[in-house]
């Protein structure tokens, strides 16, 4: 038979298109069967079951995000999302204490992951009572078994005038799929410190979303550490809902090998006189790749806004790559905004300085890299977590500071 080149290539396009459709169909069937079993086991308020069913419909309609979507163009989830994960047959947590009003405003339709998270959600609610000061940090630790998917969903309400610290950590030890969400409401005059530590094994596929609303004169201070996972994506959406709020949304990603980390954040100044600070740093080695996309929105009536955003990246290898896009969208003149991003290597003057003190070049490089990452880790006010992260970072860099 005589194939003309044009025909051949057209045929190839057709067949690969067919394969994708076919795989998507198989994948949806896997989740559909799992959801049938899951839904049948539910013993919870009708309203919650309905939210789950609606969310699953959304997932069926949307599927997983594809790289042709602007928000996902650098992060291809296809090899992971369609995996044959073991999905829980029933929800782990009792449904009794779920804050349905809060769950109801969760943007499950953001993408296929958030929809799936609600459908299979393992919900837990934490309420910090009005005017209560909780000294001890409150910890949530999540791990998934090998080959399985898990869907934690935390609902945190820091009631008016309260003060607390929460620690959200992920540390699955083997290949698994984390699909997690946290919704946080910081009510008027409340102060919430939030540490999110993602130290999954380097085979894990991690998707997470953080939704925050900050009330009148309230303070939200977040530090997001991303060290693990083969591929991780963290979506952050923070909204000021009353005047005088202040928020820090800081983070560090430190990647090796072929790790991929993607952070997308939106900080939404919808009301006047709020302050936001965002300081994200990245350290990339080997063939790792990072994406930072940070949008700061200052709406028409949000006068007196003070917003700062910075994303600095240190590339330790010629093969590492970062795509960074800090964005300011300002619709009011009476604001103070600053943003910037850098991608660079270690400064020659800094290296020379350390070497004139007798440090061999490799140690000097690693020490400077450690120092670069420390700006973020040093924010962590809990000594045990901080020293644990210090150790992880130093181990990666092969620096021993206790010599």
């Amino acid at each position: 038979m005589n194939w003309s080149p044009t025909l051949l290539s057209r045929l190839t396009v057709h067949s690969s298109h067919f394969t994708v459709r076919f795989m998507a169909a198989v994948m949806e069937t896997i989740y559909a069967d799992a959801f049938k079993r899951f839904a049948a086991s539910l013993d919870e308020p009708e309203a919650l079951s309905r939210l789950r069913a609606d969310a699953f419909d959304v997932f069926t309609r949307m599927g997983f995000p594809a790289v042709k979507t602007e928000d996902w163009k650098y992060t291809n989830v296809a090899p992971f999302a369609g995996g044959d994960w073991k999905i829980p047959d029933s929800p782990e947590k009792s449904a009794a204490d779920i804050d349905l009003d809060l769950l109801d405003i969760f943007d499950g339709g953001r993408n296929g992951f958030t929809a799936l998270n609600v459908a299979f959600g393992e919900f837990a609610t934490l309420r910090i009572a009005k005017d209560t000061i909780v000294d001890e940090p409150i910890s949530f630790n999540f791990t998934a078994d090998e080959g399985s998917a898990h869907f934690p969903h935390l609902l945190i309400i820091a009631e008016a005038g309260s003060k607390a610290t929460i620690v959200e950590s992920y540390a699955s030890a083997s290949k698994s799929f984390t699909n997690t969400a946290i919704q946080i409401v910081v009510e008027d005059n409340a102060q919430l410190t939030h540490y999110r530590v993602q130290k999954e094994s380097e085979e894990v596929f991690h998707y997470g979303v953080t939704e925050v609303s900050v009330g009148r004169d309230a303070v939200y201070n977040a530090t997001n550490i991303n060290l693990g996972a083969a591929l991780s994506r963290h979506d952050i959406e923070l909204k000021f809902t009353a005047t005088g709020g202040e928020a820090w949304v800081d983070g560090l990603y430190m990647l090796n090998g072929s790790q991929h980390s993607d952070t997308h954040s939106i900080i939404d100044h919808t009301v006047p006189n709020c302050t936001s600070h965002q300081n994200y740093k990245g350290v990339l080695n080997d063939k790792s790749r990072a994406v930072f996309n940070g949008k700061v929105l200052v709406r028409e009536n949000a006068h007196g806004t003070d917003a700062k955003q910075s994303n600095k990246n240190l590339l330790l290898s010629n093969e590492a790559r970062v795509d960074t896009k800090p964005q300011l969208e300002i619709f009011n003149d009476d604001v103070k905004c600053a943003h910037g991003a850098t991608v660079g290597q270690l400064e020659e003057e800094e290296l020379f300085y350390l070497s004139t003190r007798g440090l061999p070049e490799n140690l000097a490089r690693n020490l400077l890299t450690y120092g670069f990452a420390e700006e973020i880790i040093n924010k962590i006010g809990i000594e045990s977590i901080k020293s644990d992260l210090d150790e992880s970072v130093l181990n990666r860099l092969n620096v021993n500071l206790s010599v």
Partner: protein
């Protein structure tokens, strides 16, 4: 002879700045190298410390009889060469004490002597900090980060005290210091001055030499030493200005 510089030609970015410099320094001596802007003072400091951007075109530098130029900057440091920077570099995220302990232990390892653990080192550091009247609060702070000009220079001398070099090059240590800070830094250097080390003071002004009295003064102009003498040469320079030397060399 501790240091012997012979007919040194060196520069940066293809531009020759040192044009045949000769210098001899013996252990136990303090030498001042004075010169106007652009005479090559900084280039000399950086070439001796091994800055990678500077290239040696020809000539020789012997340190304890060995070719110093063969050694990497960190090797020079472990062999006992120290340079106090004119503009000390900030190292965010690394505490002063961590940094100094690493540096100290690298040197001890090199010399085959006992390294100090954090507690032992802390005691050692406290002792040394007295030399420059430095508050132990500075140990925990990131190296030079947010330090004032005077604090940075004191920190340089603290590093010198901790590392105990055989040859210390102080590159414009007096620049940007008020009189009180200058006095503290100079007193620190005087306490560290001994029969076992040598110090090269690189400076534009005679002011520093009121506090640290040199054994020898060398005047640098156009990339070479054009005049040498005792400490009185510094006063003569102060009085007559550098034009006097420049005119004399033409």
């Amino acid at each position: 002879m501790l240091l012997e510089v012979k007919d040194l030609h060196a520069g940066i970015d293809g531009k020759e700045i040192l044009t045949g410099l000769n210098l001899q320094v013996k252990t136990g001596e303090v030498h001042a190298i004075m010169g106007p802007n652009g005479s090559g003072k900084s280039t000399l400091s950086k070439v001796l410390a091994g800055h990678p951007s500077y290239e040696v075109i020809s000539g020789e530098v012997l340190y304890e009889g060995k070719n110093l130029l063969d050694l990497e900057p960190d090797e020079r440091a472990r062999e006992g060469v120290f340079m106090a920077f004119q503009y000390p570099v900030e190292v965010p995220g690394v505490s002063n004490s961590q940094f100094l302990r690493l540096a100290y232990n690298q040197k001890m390892m090199h010399l085959g002597q006992e390294e100090l653990d954090p507690l032992e080192f802390n005691d050692y550091l406290k002792e040394k900090a007295k030399i420059v009247d430095m508050n132990p609060e500075f140990f925990k702070r990131s190296v030079n980060e947010g330090f004032s000009g005077g604090e940075k220079k004191r920190n340089e001398i603290l590093q010198m005290a901790v590392l105990g070099p055989k040859l210390a090059i102080l590159d414009e240590t007096d620049s940007g210091l008020d009189i009180d800070a200058l006095r503290i830094v100079a007193e620190g250097v005087n306490k560290l001055r001994s029969d076992d080390n040598a110090i090269i003071l690189v400076t534009h002004y005679q002011r520093l030499l009121n506090f640290i009295v040199p054994d020898m003064v060398h005047v640098l102009a156009g990339g070479k030493i054009v005049k040498e003498g005792g400490k009185e040469l510094a006063f003569e320079l102060e009085e007559k200005g550098y034009d006097w030397v420049k005119a004399a060399t033409k």
